[in-house]
Each structure stands twice: as structure tokens, then as C-alpha cells.
């Protein structure tokens, strides 16, 4: 049996501010992995740069800590290299929707079998409070005292429009719900995208625990996540009401299934079997 202790990291000095929304996210993820009975060595996390991207260092798993914005290409490469790994990407809203926006769009299109968690604090935490792509219109930041003058992007709507195979949102203030969504995401075959509303207690004084708590509501059993247009409509809700839960599910083939060699085993297996002589005949084409 896998226990929570198995996921105890050797790193004890956690670089997050006390009260940061990243703590419950870390806890929920650990619990989800334990409940799914996954061994730490079966899990590989890829993170970027930002406060949340330090998360993989704080649990005991395989880890490739990438550059700012480049989580998804590396995670895609990793998931193709060894599709038996449970690949989980984690990073901030700036990392994923700003610096890595093009990769996010294309990862959704490719549908690699992995989970992608965006800890969305609607701000740049690590660089001290600049606006992120999800900072609400009009919010005043240290660097924009007059308020942000471009509208926030809507990650849910973007992902749904691209037929992302799994689209969910949760709130860092609700650990159990978050854990259940993460379990679904990890079990999902395909690209599972989870945006987590994560209060940043230091730089975002607007979107606080309190602010989110007053607004979030769970999607009910009567909600049909396979109805694209309904999901798209649901995704427009932001303000007085913010839906959390699985907003959209779309059945489609996963990236690995498009590759003939990966039907024979993992690419890593193929690598281990490689013998130069297997390609001998190929030189004949050049005579």
C-alpha cells in the first residue's frame, strides 16, 4: 500500500508564503496519488518557473523542472518516451497562458495522455505582483496603479473551444473536491486540463479565499459535460457565480495511439532493443 509518507519530499524548506493557496494544492495532489495507489516512481512531474512550479520539489516524484512556459512540450515528449509514466504538469497562469500559451493550445490539440494543473492566482507571484493573462480587468497592481486595461482571458472557454478532452476547474480552498477532480484528471485518458483558483495571499488582494468562496459553486449531477455548447456557455460564468467541477469532456484518440511504434511498447523499450543492424536494408534505397 502506498502511503502519504512515501510522497514525503527530502526538501523541507518550502519557499511559499504562509497561507499560500499552493499548500492545499500540494496536499490534495499527494492524497490523490495515494488514493490512486500510485507509487512515487510511477509518477513524473514537469513544472515551469513560478511559485507553483516549485511544487514538484515538495513531494517525492520524478521531476523535470523546466523553463518558464515550457512545461507542455517537455511533458509531451516525456509522455511519448514512456507512456507508462503518469505524467503531471504543474505551473502558474503566467507560465501556462502567457509564456507558454502556444504550447497550451497545441498540447490540447495533440491530446497527450497527461494531466496539466494550472495554479491560477490571477497574478505573477514570483516576479512580485504583475498582471497575468487572467488578472481581472481594472484590477490595480503595484506596477499598474491605474488598473489593468485589457480583459482577462477565459481559460475554460479557450480549452473547450479547442475540444480539450478534459476541462475542469477547482478551488484551492476546497481540498476534498480538488482531490476528487485531480483523481479524475489523472485517471483520464488524454489531456486533462485543471485550472485551480489559487489565492495568492501576498500579491493578489482582490481574489482572496473569501472572494472565491463567496462565488464558487459545484456543478451538479444534472450538468452534462459532454455538451459542448452548454459547456461553452457555462464557461462564460465569471463574477457573481463561478462554476467548479468538470466542465467539459470530449472523447478523442490520445496522441500516443497515432504512433505505430508505440503500439509495440514504450519508446524506451524500443530504445533498449535498438540494434544498428536492423536498418541495414535501408541503405539499399540509396543505390
Amino acid at each position: 500500500m502506498v502511503t502519504i509518507e512515501d510522497y514525503e519530499s527530502r526538501v523541507k524548506d518550502i519557499a511559499w508564503c504562509p497561507g499560500c493557496g499552493n499548500f492545499p494544492i500540494l496536499e490534495a495532489l499527494k492524497q490523490a496519488l495515494v488514493e490512486l495507489n500510485l507509487e512515487p516512481w510511477q509518477v513524473a512531474m514537469v513544472s515551469g518557473i513560478g511559485q507553483s512550479s516549485k511544487l514538484p520539489h515538495y513531494l517525492r516524484v520524478n521531476e523535470y523542472n523546466e523553463l518558464h512556459g515550457r512545461i507542455l512540450p517537455a511533458a509531451t515528449g516525456l509522455s511519448l518516451a514512456n507512456h507508462e509514466l503518469v505524467v503531471i504538469g504543474v505551473g502558474g497562469d503566467g507560465d501556462g497562458y502567457g509564456e507558454g500559451g502556444n504550447h497550451w493550445i497545441n498540447a490540447i490539440r495533440r491530446n497527450p495522455n497527461m494531466t496539466y494543473i494550472v495554479t491560477n492566482n490571477q497574478i505573477y507571484g514570483l516576479t512580485k505582483g504583475q498582471a497575468s493573462p487572467t488578472t481581472d480587468y481594472g484590477m490595480k497592481t503595484k506596477d499598474e496603479p491605474g488598473g489593468i486595461h485589457i480583459p482577462a482571458m477565459n481559460p475554460m472557454a479557450v480549452a473547450i473551444s479547442l475540444d480539450c478532452s478534459f476541462v475542469a476547474r477547482c478551488f484551492a480552498g476546497d481540498l476534498d473536491f480538488m482531490k476528487e477532480i485531480l483523481k479524475k484528471a489523472i485517471n483520464h485518458k488524454g489531456f486533462a486540463f485543471v485550472d485551480i483558483l489559487q489565492p495568492c495571499v501576498t500579491w493578489n488582494k482582490v481574489n482572496t479565499y473569501q472572494w472565491y468562496r463567496e462565488r464558487v459553486y459545484k456543478l451538479g449531477d444534472d450538468y452534462d459535460p459532454t455538451d459542448k455548447f452548454a459547456a461553452f456557455q457555462k464557461a462564460q460564468e465569471w463574477g457573481a457565480q463561478i462554476p467548479i467541477g468538470v466542465l467539459y469532456l470530449f472523447k478523442r484518440p490520445i496522441l500516443k495511439d497515432d504512433y505505430v511504434p508505440l503500439q509495440r511498447g514504450t519508446l524506451l523499450d524500443l530504445q533498449k532493443e535498438h540494434k544498428p543492424s536492423q536498418f541495414k536494408d535501408l541503405l539499399k534505397k540509396f543505390f
Partner: protein, 581 residues
């Protein structure tokens, strides 16, 4: 080499983009290769799909050839501009195959050269399609020099196999009508008669193809790339040959290309990305990440002239210093620059071994000229049986079991830490682009930083022992010493021979394992009376590297940056100019 061979002819096929200049050139090259000749080709094309002017230069010899002179004996004109564009470089009494209906030939040209008028367009239309002009021209050319038709017919059938029997039949017919036309009308009147000869079988391929094959043999299982001329044909070749034996992802951009390859490499597979200068610029940050995380990766960078978009389809060696310094921060790297197809193959295999033995990024740096050049090679030089796959030191299962977490950046004497792949039972393999401790976790303290920095940089000393001595050629004590690297090999070697023939004693050193710099490089400069670094760039980048890494000063440089490759004649002329001869 020029004096030893009795046959040394230069063909040029010119036409507009879209007229199939490259396919005529390609098929003729293969035809001659199967007919027992050595071939070297050069492709000159514009960054467009239709119109403009492009040409295919084909040198044919009964001796191995490594370069193309800027000289033409047989010109095949598919359009109305070819003759005037290439008139300057045609030797007296050149043979011109053209369709007078497409363009009248000027009286001056007529006076100096032998014109063979062939109704290319009429024959093409008769066969069913004006696009067959190029096929008719192939047949007509071979008929004129009395080459064998069946070899050509066989190749056409292979070339169009996928397009169906009708297309094959029409093309063979077009070629035959062209062939018969020149046979019937001009038999015995052409000064060049080339018949198939018996010779050992050769392979014919470009250097990009050689890199692609090399990568497959080396066991490259993952390629992520974004299309960019002149690099694209590397993965196109790999896919055509072994679609089902590796994974290819065409990425959204080059940022994704390199990072995806890094993710795959971390996962334990041999990974490569291919690009040209502009794409490599986007890869810089990822290149640096490879340095920090010590992830083995191969980058095939096929250069074209810059800055910016430059001349997209042409050649230049102007990315060398860029690659040497690419990526922020300091970290070791290896740079190889193939001199020919055989070396492209060998160095690609070696690149994957070096990357995995030392956990570094290896760049295979070549340029359009060689990337697109077909050349005949001795199959024995693609020695498959000799290929060794060296994956570097690996951690044992026992180690993974007994240590709770794995030291993926263990500090060792050589700087190389034994490796393990994520997903191995009981192994926790972590790494970070942030400075990290031996476990791959983020640190801030100075002591660990220094340990890791020094460990990484030590690998450069360790890998030095695998860097081979550069090739030297010609007499020991010479008045002139030429130094080159990468794709200029053939032109410099031939220039060395020509200079010696003309009484200017010359030798040369050619470097393909460019960085780290081998000690022989400095010694060669010291021994030379006068040394000139021949390179396709403005600033003399390899000369700068020699200065920086050996402290020696070459006498000067012979530089060319017009987007066209060196010809042997050009180098000879420049050397003589510097000698006051």
C-alpha cells in the same frame, strides 16, 4: 584529383522554380552513378515555389569528387533565361541543349558554343503534358552523349512508383522521345560521349540524408522539429525510410521542438531536433536548459545566410560562433561540422554517443551547400557493423533500490553522473533548470553551486579525449597552409591540389570535430609559414576560435558570404592574390 581523372565534366540544368530542375538533376545524378561514375552536385534555388531561376550543377568524373567548380561543359536550358545567366561560366565549345522555340539563341553564343536544339515543349505536349519538358530534357541529354537509356527508364519507374503506371509510362515515353530525337538528329556530333562504365557500386545521397540515416542507425527514437529550409529534409528522410521506427512530432515552434526533445531525452530515449539559424535562435533557452539539467540532446543545425531570414535557400557558415556561445550562462557543448556525406553519417552516430556519454548537447552544424549536395560514396564508408551504441554510465537497479532518492547530478571526478530514467522501479529521478543539488532539487547556497558548476564544466575536459585530430593533407613543409572546417572540405582539398600543380606548395588542415578545439589545430598554425582560414562567412569565425582557444594567429582569411559555396578555382585565385602571384 583533377589531373588524374580522364573524365571530368560539369553539367548544369537551369530553369524556373516549378519546372522540375531539381528532379532532372537528381535523376540524372542517379543515372550516372548507376552507370559507374562519381558525382558531386550543387543545388542553387530561390526561396519561391514558381518562377525565378534555379539550377542544378552536376559534376561527373571517373574519380571521386568532393566539390563543384564554377564551370560548365553541358548546359541544359529548360527556360528562356538559363543561357544568358550561365554564359559566363561556360567553357568554350560548351554543349547547350535548348528549345529554340522557347528562346532565340544569340549569335555570340552560337559562335562560341555548340547548340543542340530539341523541341522540348512539342515533345512534352505530344506525350500529354507540358510539365514533361524536364523529362524530355533528361532523355535528350543522355541521347546526345550516347548514355544508356535503360538505366534512366528504370530510375523513372522507381521515382514515380507511387504515382501509378500511367505516370510512369508517360514519363518513360517523354524521356524516350527526347533520347531518340538527339540520337537521330545529332548522333556523332557532340564532343562529349559518356558511356556507362563498369565500376564498383556506389551510393548516392545528400549530407542531410546522411544525417537522417546516421540518426536512425544511432537509434534516435524521437525527433521534434519545425520546418525550416535547409534542415527539413533530415526528418523527411527519416520518415520516408523508417516511419514506424521512431516518433516524430512537428511542433508549433522551435521553443517546443527543443523542449519536447529534452522531455523525451529525460525519459530515456535518444532525441534530436533539426533547424536552421533562426529556429536555433528560438531554441537558445532550451539549449541552456540542456546544459543545466545535463540532458543529452542532438541538434542538427543546417545553416543559411543571415542575419534574420537572410537568403533562405543558400549557404553560409556564419552560425559557428553563435552556436559556440548559444544559451545564457556557461555550460559545455560539442560542435561537429561534417565535411562530406560519410562524415555526416559518422559524426551523427558519434553525436548521439557523445551526448549520452557526457550528458551534453551536441550540435551537428552544417550548411545548405552540403545539405543539398548529392555525392556518390563508397558503401564501405557507411560501416554499419562498426557502429557502437554507447549510452554512458548507468545506475544499477541495486543503487536505485537502496538509495531512497537518486543523485542524478552526483559529483564525480569526470563530472559525469551515472544516469537513470524516470519510471524505473524505486527510482526517483529529479532535475531542474534552477541550480540544484545532487538530487536535482533547487538550492541557493554558494558551495553547492560551485560544486555543480565545476562538475558540469569538468565534462569538457573528460570529453576532449574523444575528440579526433583534424585531417591534414599535402606536404609537411609548404609555403601555403589552408585551414577549413565543415562543408568547404572538397573545394579546399581540390584547391590544394591545383595550387601544388601550379607550383605553389600547399597543404591543408580540415576540422570536423570543431569544438572543443583539438590541440593539433594550434600546432598546425604554428608550423605553417602562411596560413589562411577559408570560410563562408564575413568575420572569420573559425579564425577567431583559433585565436581564442589556441592563442595562435593565422596569417589571414579567405572569406565568402554571397550565399554561394566556394569553388576550388575561387580559392586558388584568392591564394594567388595573397601571394602576389
Amino acid at each position: 584529383m583533377s589531373t588524374e581523372s580522364s573524365i571530368d565534366l560539369n553539367f548544369r540544368v537551369g530553369g524556373a522554380a516549378g519546372q522540375g530542375v531539381q528532379s532532372v538533376g537528381g535523376v540524372l545524378s542517379k543515372t550516372f552513378a548507376r552507370g559507374g561514375y562519381h558525382i558531386f552536385t550543387h543545388q542553387d534555388y530561390e526561396s519561391r515555389i514558381r518562377g525565378g531561376h534555379s539550377f542544378f550543377h552536376l559534376r561527373l568524373s571517373d574519380m571521386p569528387v568532393y566539390a563543384a567548380p564554377n564551370r560548365v561543359n553541358v548546359l541544359v536550358a529548360l527556360d528562356d533565361r538559363t543561357i544568358e545567366i550561365h554564359e559566363d561560366v561556360m567553357v568554350p565549345n560548351s554543349v547547350i541543349i535548348c528549345d529554340r522555340k522557347l528562346r532565340e539563341v544569340s549569335p555570340e553564343v552560337e559562335r562560341v558554343h555548340d547548340i543542340f536544339d530539341v523541341p522540348l515543349m512539342d515533345i512534352a505536349l505530344e506525350t500529354g503534358n507540358k510539365l514533361y519538358v524536364n523529362t524530355v530534357a533528361m532523355g535528350a541529354s543522355l541521347g546526345l552523349i550516347e548514355f544508356d537509356f535503360d538505366i534512366l527508364a528504370g530510375l523513372i519507374a522507381e521515382q514515380f512508383k507511387k504515382k501509378g503506371q500511367t505516370i510512369i509510362d508517360e514519363n518513360v515515353k517523354a524521356a524516350r522521345l527526347g533520347y531518340e530525337f538527339t540520337q537521330q538528329n545529332y548522333k556523332g556530333t557532340c564532343c562529349y560521349i559518356i558511356k556507362p562504365r563498369t565500376a564498383p557500386k556506389t551510393m548516392i545521397l545528400t549530407s542531410n540524408e546522411a544525417i537522417g540515416i546516421g540518426a536512425l542507425f544511432a537509434g534516435c527514437k524521437f525527433v521534434s522539429a519545425y520546418p525550416m529550409t535547409p534542415s527539413t529534409s533530415i526528418w523527411v528522410t527519416m520518415k520516408a525510410l523508417a516511419h514506424d521506427d521512431f516518433v516524430f512530432v512537428q511542433t508549433e515552434d522551435e521553443l517546443a521542438s527543443i523542449n519536447m526533445a529534452l522531455g523525451a531525452a529525460y525519459g530515456g530515449v535518444r532525441a534530436m531536433t533539426t533547424t536552421s539559424g533562426g529556429g536555433f535562435a528560438l531554441m537558445n533557452e532550451g539549449f541552456s536548459l540542456a546544459g543545466a539539467t545535463e540532458t543529452p540532446i542532438v541538434v542538427a543545425l543546417v545553416s543559411r545566410p543571415g542575419p534574420a531570414t537572410g537568403l533562405p535557400t543558400r549557404t553560409e557558415q556564419s552560425d559557428l560562433e553563435y552556436v559556440l556561445h548559444a544559451g545564457h550562462g556557461e555550460f559545455p557543448r560539442v560542435i561537429f561540422a561534417p565535411s562530406c556525406q560519410e562524415e555526416a553519417f559518422r559524426l551523427t552516430v558519434k553525436a548521439f554517443n557523445m551526448a549520452e556519454k557526457y550528458h551534453v548537447a551536441v550540435v551537428i552544424l552544417q550548411d545548405q551547400h552540403l545539405a543539398d549536395s548529392y555525392r556518390t560514396v563508397d558503401p564501405a564508408d557507411f560501416n554499419i557493423d562498426a557502429i557502437k551504441i554507447e549510452r554512458g554510465p548507468m545506475a544499477t537497479e541495486e543503487e536505485l533500490k537502496t538509495s531512497k532518492d537518486f543523485k542524478s547530478h552526483r559529483v564525480t571526478e569526470s563530472g559525469v553522473s551515472p544516469r537513470a530514467f524516470p519510471g524505473t522501479k524505486d527510482g526517483i529521478i529529479a532535475t531542474a533548470g534552477d541550480e540544484h543539488d545532487e538530487y536535482g532539487h533547487i538550492i541557493e547556497d554558494a558551495e553547492t553551486r560551485n560544486e555543480q558548476m565545476e562538475k558540469r564544466m569538468r565534462k569538457l575536459d573528460a570529453l576532449m579525449k574523444d575528440i579526433e585530430e583534424p585531417l591534414t593533407y599535402g606536404q609537411e613543409a609548404a609555403d601555403v597552409s589552408l585551414i577549413g572546417w565543415g562543408s568547404t572540405y572538397g573545394a579546399i582539398k581540390e584547391a590544394t591540389d591545383l595550387l601544388n600543380e601550379e607550383g605553389i606548395s600547399t597543404n591543408m588542415m580540415h576540422v570536423v570535430e570543431v569544438f572543443p578545439v583539438h590541440k593539433v589545430v594550434g600546432e598546425f598554425v604554428t608550423k605553417a609559414k602562411q596560413s589562411f582560414v577559408v570560410e563562408n562567412n564575413y568575420t572569420g569565425q573559425y579564425a577567431n576560435i583559433i585565436r581564442a582557444y589556441t592563442g595562435k594567429l593565422p596569417t589571414g582569411g579567405i572569406n565568402k558570404y554571397d550565399g554561394r559555396p566556394f569553388s576550388p578555382g575561387y580559392i586558388v585565385k584568392e591564394v594567388k592574390r595573397r601571394m602576389g602571384a
